[in-house]
């Protein structure tokens, strides 16, 4: 129990004003952590509010993220959507699992980190925007941290079990999940597992989208030992195996996507004393990924090729939280080594197989220190700041990798960068209903290994082969965030507005003296820095308590991105509004939802190869009921998504593959 409170408090440590609120959540029954995922999006370290939603463990990680207004998902198929924060992409945000860095092995970004995590693994999903002390490893756009559920000694119930199953009519998708926790004051063991399988799905009018099937299983095991009142040791192992995963937006599918994620964690916690919390983690993860074009028809495959990729990361972090009267401190030291390699072997008819690296044995060594401080200097005022310093060394780790790039890199291939982030903000609560905040920060990031060393990586969006550039400057941004909250008995409104001004923004630009590698590509681009780019927008969330049993939620977000010459940046989501009405009657929770995506015509076809997307409006309806039967608690739900079978696709859907049509989803979960 103490660990939950400590855990939540640590996460919200700088957010003094909500410490009370957090404490109350911490006392809730641990069944929450078996049955539900806490979704937390924090608008920066100084945020005094946290919007928490609960997500069923049957709801896929992708769908959970999709409902967070700051998050936009890039979709390449029915599986493994890539999360972005305010349309800032993978290199600009940190996606971590329990603070552990992990890097996908697929050059086509078919395996974002989120694809290896299932809701059964999660206790909490945190979205941190911008430079934030809770973000692991600096970064520009912020980060998403998947906090894993784990064995907890001293839980109120000694044995907890959950079993669940679900079925979706669209694609005949099934999923089966189970979780178990055994907990005594000294020792705890937890396991969870899920199996998911889906056939190809159908867009509106029952039009099947070929190559959109997938199948996977995922299991996690956690063991914890309470060494003494303040010390806990925990070992975790997560395994994820995906097979036969179709990608309708690409010319290839995935043969297998395997992840093994292990860690050892030590926790120190005290309620009294200067240092309330110290957490140290050692970790290792390994990803093995291979693409597969054998299921595609011969006329679509110009030449058969094998494209495997591997990524492993070993790292550590140690963080502490401390408080002294009105001050709260958090400090963290972290580091990792990541090795990434991907290659391609092409088999021409009547010719010798052709082999080349697309990521030629690249390596990154990273060391960082994060410090954050929050000062509740007055009942109405909190000042907070955080800073991150990091050292990054990137190189190709063997001669064959260096040979591959000898044709485009003259001289040494390695890069060393020292980066720093700093953010400061103030939070003002003039009345019990109103809160205001302002944050100003300066952030930077080093280019990713793909951006330094990628070799002819084909991007389906603009049809270009991309070359890395190991001379890239670090990307920098100035960030300003304004926020306001109004909260009273019947309405709560949260508004945020932001502006990021970038310098040395990393984009691909055409290079004319290179010939394409991919048959049918439009040309070759190389990553380069452009002098500036800007990103601005905002989010508005509303909650109306219309009646004791009737609530209306509205989440809206909008972003605009431009490069140095005013051209619209690619993959920026248009205005989106998600509105839902929740009604509780006779023990049934019903919801009626509507989703509106505006048309996106702010695109630059000539420069970035992007075309516009029409607007779409969707309706969903659902009902859920929890009931007890013979000492077991059941939750049954029925949901219809895309009620009116609307044909649509969203702007971040690569190749504009149509999204699913009407879908009946039934799920039942049992906790005992």
């Amino acid at each position: 129990m103490h660990h939950h409170i400590a855990f939540l408090l640590f996460v919200s440590a700088p957010c003094l004003l909500t410490a009370q609120e957090q404490h109350q959540h911490g006392t809730k029954d641990t069944t929450i952590y078996i049955q539900e995922v806490l979704v937390q999006n924090r608008q920066g370290v100084s945020s005094s509010y946290q919007r928490e939603q609960r997500a069923s463990k049957q709801l896929s990680t992708d769908k959970i993220l999709d409902h967070v207004p700051e998050v936009q998902m890039i979709r390449r198929g029915n599986y493994a959507w890539e999360p972005t924060i305010r349309s800032l992409n993978s290199g600009q945000i940190n996606v971590t699992i329990d603070g552990m860095h992990i890097f996908g092995a697929c050059t086509d970004k078919m395996d974002p980190v989120s694809s290896y995590i299932e809701p059964t693994n999660l206790a909490q999903l945190s979205v941190n925007v911008g430079a934030d002390g809770a973000n692991y490893g600096g970064g520009i756009g912020g980060g998403i941290d998947f906090k894993l559920t784990g064995a907890t000694p001293g839980a109120p119930h000694q044995l907890q079990r959950m079993l669940g199953t679900g079925y979706e009519s669209n694609g005949n998708a099934v999923q089966t999940l189970a979780a178990l926790q055994y907990s005594t004051p000294k020792f705890a063991l937890q396991g969870n597992g899920i199996f998911r399988k889906s056939g190809a799905y159908q867009a509106a009018n029952r039009v099947e989208i070929p190559y959109s099937q997938f199948q996977k299983w995922n299991a996690a095991l956690s063991a914890a030992y309470q060494i003494s009142r303040s010390h806990t040791l925990r070992a975790d192992y997560l395994v994820d195996r995906g097979r036969d995963i179709g990608y309708p937006a690409l010319t290839m599918d995935v043969a297998y996507a395997d992840a093994d994620i292990t860690s050892l964690t030590h926790h120190y916690h005290r309620e009294d004393g200067l240092i309330s919390h110290v957490k140290t983690k050692l970790y290792y993860n390994h990803i093995d990924h291979a693409m597969d074009d054998t299921k595609r028809p011969a006329e679509q495959v110009a030449m058969h090729m094998d494209m495997p990729g591997k990524s492993w990361t070993a790292g550590f972090y140690s963080e502490l939280a401390s408080h002294l009267e009105k001050h709260r401190f958090q400090g963290r030291l972290s580091g990792y080594v990541n090795r990434l390699t991907a290659d391609m072997t092409m088999y021409p008819d009547g010719g010798t197989p052709m082999f080349m690296y697309t990521i030629p044995n690249a390596q990154r060594i990273f060391l960082a220190t994060d410090l954050s401080h929050s000062w509740h200097l007055h009942p109405d005022w909190t000042i907070e700041s955080n800073t991150t310093w990091s050292l990054i060394q990137s190189d190709l780790y063997n001669q064959s990798g260096k040979d591959q790039l000898s044709g485009i890199i003259n001289g040494p291939t390695d890069r060393s960068n020292m980066l720093w982030n700093i953010r400061s903000g103030a939070h003002w609560r003039p009345t019990s209903q109103w809160q205001f905040k302002i944050q100003v920060g300066r952030t930077s990031r080093a280019a990713t290994l793909q951006e330094y060393y990628g070799f002819y990586i084909y991007d389906r969006l603009d049809g270009f082969d991309y070359l890395g550039n190991n001379q890239l400057h670090d990307e920098n941004a100035w960030q300003v965030d304004f926020g306001a909250v109004y909260d009273d008995a019947w309405i709560r409104a949260e508004a945020n507005a932001f502006r990021y001004g970038f310098s040395d923004y990393i984009v691909g630009r055409m290079v004319s003296d290179y010939q394409t590698m991919t048959i049918g590509a439009n040309g070759v681009k190389q990553y380069t820095n452009i002098p500036s780019a800007s990103l601005y927008g905002g989010e508005l969330s509303l909650r109306f308590r219309l009646h004791k049993n009737l609530t209306l939620h509205s989440a809206n977000a909008c972003t605009v991105g431009k490069d140095d010459e005013g051209y619209a940046l690619p993959l920026i989501a248009p205005f989106r509004s998600m509105n839902s009405l929740h009604l509780t009657v006779a023990g049934i929770n019903g919801s009626l939802e509507t989703e509106y995506n505006a048309a996106q015509n702010r695109v630059s076809e000539t420069r970035y190869g992007e075309t516009g997307t029409p607007a779409s409006t969707l309706f969903h309806i659902g009902a859920r009921r929890t009931f007890s039967l013979q000492n077991k608690v059941f939750t049954a739900s029925l949901r219809v998504e895309n009620l009116f079978d609307q044909h649509y696709y969203r702007h971040l859907d690569i190749m504009k593959v149509a999204r699913p049509g009407r879908n009946f989803i039934t799920q039942i979960t049992m906790v005992l």
């Binding site: 030449m303 391609m344 092409m346 021409p348 008819d349 009547g350 010719g351 010798t352 197989p353 052709m354 082999f355 080349m356 690296y357 064959s400 260096k402 040979d403 591959q404 790039l405 000898s406 044709g407 485009i408 070799f455 002819y456 003296d513 290179y514 010939q515 394409t516 590698m517 048959i519």
Partner: protein, 150 residues
């Protein structure tokens, strides 16, 4: 008598063989020994030339040293190196839509008909090096192709 004749004859053969060292000879009837790929072409001057690939002997992915030997066939079996040519080349992959590679360096004459440059193999597989050979402004031969695979 027979022994002396035989000895003298042997010494004579040895002397002749010693004198046939590749590096110093203008005219020789022995072919160059390192080459494993030889292309013969007729120039616009109606002379028969040979283009031999000396390096890379063990090609690898990335930048390789490229060395070719160009000789002309004279009267009889005489082969002499040609030192006054300008070479330009493009490496292409016949199975990849004939796409080329960037950052190659056209071979330049170094010594005795040996031309040295650089070739960039972006991947392993079948490659064809297309040479255009000029003497001054005059094109001697166009598209002399040398195949290489690894």
């Amino acid at each position: 008598m027979k022994n002396l004749a035989r000895t003298c004859y042997s010494i004579l053969v040895v002397l002749i063989l010693i004198s046939c060292k590749k590096d110093n000879i203008e005219d020789t009837d022995l072919p160059h020994q390192e080459e494993d790929k030889i292309i013969t072409f007729t120039g616009s001057d109606n002379i028969l030339y040979t283009l031999s690939l000396i390096q890379p002997a063990a090609p690898k992915i990335g930048i390789n040293d490229l060395e070719v030997q160009i000789d002309k066939k004279g009267s009889g079996n005489n082969v002499s190196p040609v030192k006054d040519l300008t070479l330009a080349f493009t490496p292409r992959m016949p199975h990849m839509g004939n796409h080329s590679s960037p950052n190659n360096v056209d071979p330049v004459h170094s010594n005795d008909g040996r031309y040295k440059g650089k070739v960039n193999f972006t991947m392993s597989g079948d490659w064809r090096l297309h040479f255009t050979i000029k003497r001054g402004d005059e094109v001697l031969a166009e598209d002399v192709a040398l195949d290489l695979l690894f």
